[in-house]
């Protein structure tokens, strides 16, 4: 199988290039894209990419696989090959450090902005802060995010304003804490999101929903944030 790989080493290369590799795949087995990368690395040890758990839990190997963002470790080659060819590029919109490794600083900066931790100004009880099963259910579909950045780097609003628009991943986490019955900073959190960029750059095109490897729905969360902002201000 032919693999076209994005190669860029800023220390050596003037600009990025696509390099073609021929990979021998074992017969009768559908490998994951990450397995193909491991085979490639044996051929050419200079290839750089991130990986860790190799089972879709850590979110390290988010990349652009034949035009679609996804995790290499849980994307089968059969689903990613187009016309006998597999094209691997880094996540779009972020600066490339080397080959498939991108600089995620701005992505984490947006994540930090939403204060992704529980804020509760009531003194902690002796054992733990309780939550009813119904309130706990409201966090389903929000807490599962693994921060692989597939969604945010698939969002044109994030490409154009990565410093100002929080992006789908950050906003999903913003809503995860807005929806938490144990959090008492709802008003301050909402006040931080009312400006024209942080939330309202979302045009609802749902690119984030289309690529989330965990099947989450940031667009819906953003809609809930808008409703909360509306309720607070009207």
């Amino acid at each position: 199988m032919l693999v076209s790989l994005y190669r860029y080493n800023p220390e050596v290369d003037a600009k990025p290039r696509m390099q073609d590799y021929e990979v021998e795949l074992p017969a009768g087995k559908d490998l994951m894209v990450l397995d193909v990368l491991e085979l490639l690395k044996r051929q050419d040890p200079s290839i750089a990419y991130r990986r860790s758990c190799r089972e879709g839990v850590c979110g390290s190997d988010g990349m652009n696989i034949s035009g679609t963002n996804g995790l290499a470790c849980i994307t089968p080659v059969s689903a990613a090959v187009r016309g006998g060819k597999l094209v691997l590029r880094p996540l779009p919109g972020l600066p490339v450090i080397r080959d498939l490794v991108v600089d995620m600083t701005v992505f984490y900066k947006q994540f930090e902005k939403v204060q992704p931790f529980l804020i509760n100004n009531i003194p902690a009880p002796a054992i733990e802060r309780l939550q009813s099963p119904e309130d706990r259910e409201k966090l389903d579909g929000l807490y599962e995010c693994i921060l692989c950045a597939c969604c945010s780097t698939n969002c044109p609003s994030f490409w154009w304003n990565p410093e100002k628009f929080i992006g789908p991943a950050g906003l999903l986490q913003a809503y995860r804490f807005l929806a938490d019955s144990r959090d008492t900073a709802t008003d301050a959190r909402l006040a931080n999101l009312e400006d024209p960029f942080s939330v309202f750059r979302c045009r609802g095109i749902m690119n984030c929903v289309a690529v989330c490897p965990k099947g989450l729905n940031p667009t819906r969360a953003i809609g809930h944030i808008r409703s909360m902002l509306m309720q607070r201000a009207s």
Binding site: P156, S157, W160, N161, K164, A191, N192, L193, E194, D195, P196, F197, S198, V199, F200, R201, R226, L229, M230, A233
Partner: protein, 122 residues
């Protein structure tokens, strides 16, 4: 919190509400106008003039004109802050963006005054 002074209401929520409400109003206005065209098989100058001479139509049309201006401003402001940015145009981006935004405001204001003139000139 991202600070911005050139957006319509300086609040994303306000701009968003304005854009959606004006969109609904414009849809209703133009569907109504389309309804008039369909219901009037013989569209004469007198029929058209009678419609726009009515006070209620002037109110509705002026509201539509103001709505278009507000709607267009929110939309074009968004476009300028997406595509006329330092990331895409370099150091001259702020000047280009502000010039384009100013041009938009001037054109909208001209259309508004001109539109009022036309409506009350019937």
């Amino acid at each position: 919190m991202v600070t911005n002074v050139t957006s319509f209401g300086r609040s994303g929520l306000y701009d968003w509400v304005v854009q959606r409400l004006t969109a609904v109003y414009l849809a209703v206005y133009f569907v109504g106008l389309l309804g008039f065209l369909v219901m009037t098989p013989e569209l004469t100058f007198d029929a058209w003039r009678a419609l726009f001479s009515a006070t209620w139509m002037r109110i509705a049309s002026l509201a539509a004109l103001v709505a278009i201006c507000a709607h267009a401003w929110v939309g074009l402001w968004t476009v300028t802050t997406d595509y006329l940015t330092t990331d895409l145009l370099g150091s001259k981006a702020t000047v280009i963006r502000l010039a384009f935004q100013a041009a938009c405001v001037i054109v909208m204001f001209i259309y508004l005054v001109w539109g009022i003139q036309i409506l009350w000139g019937v």
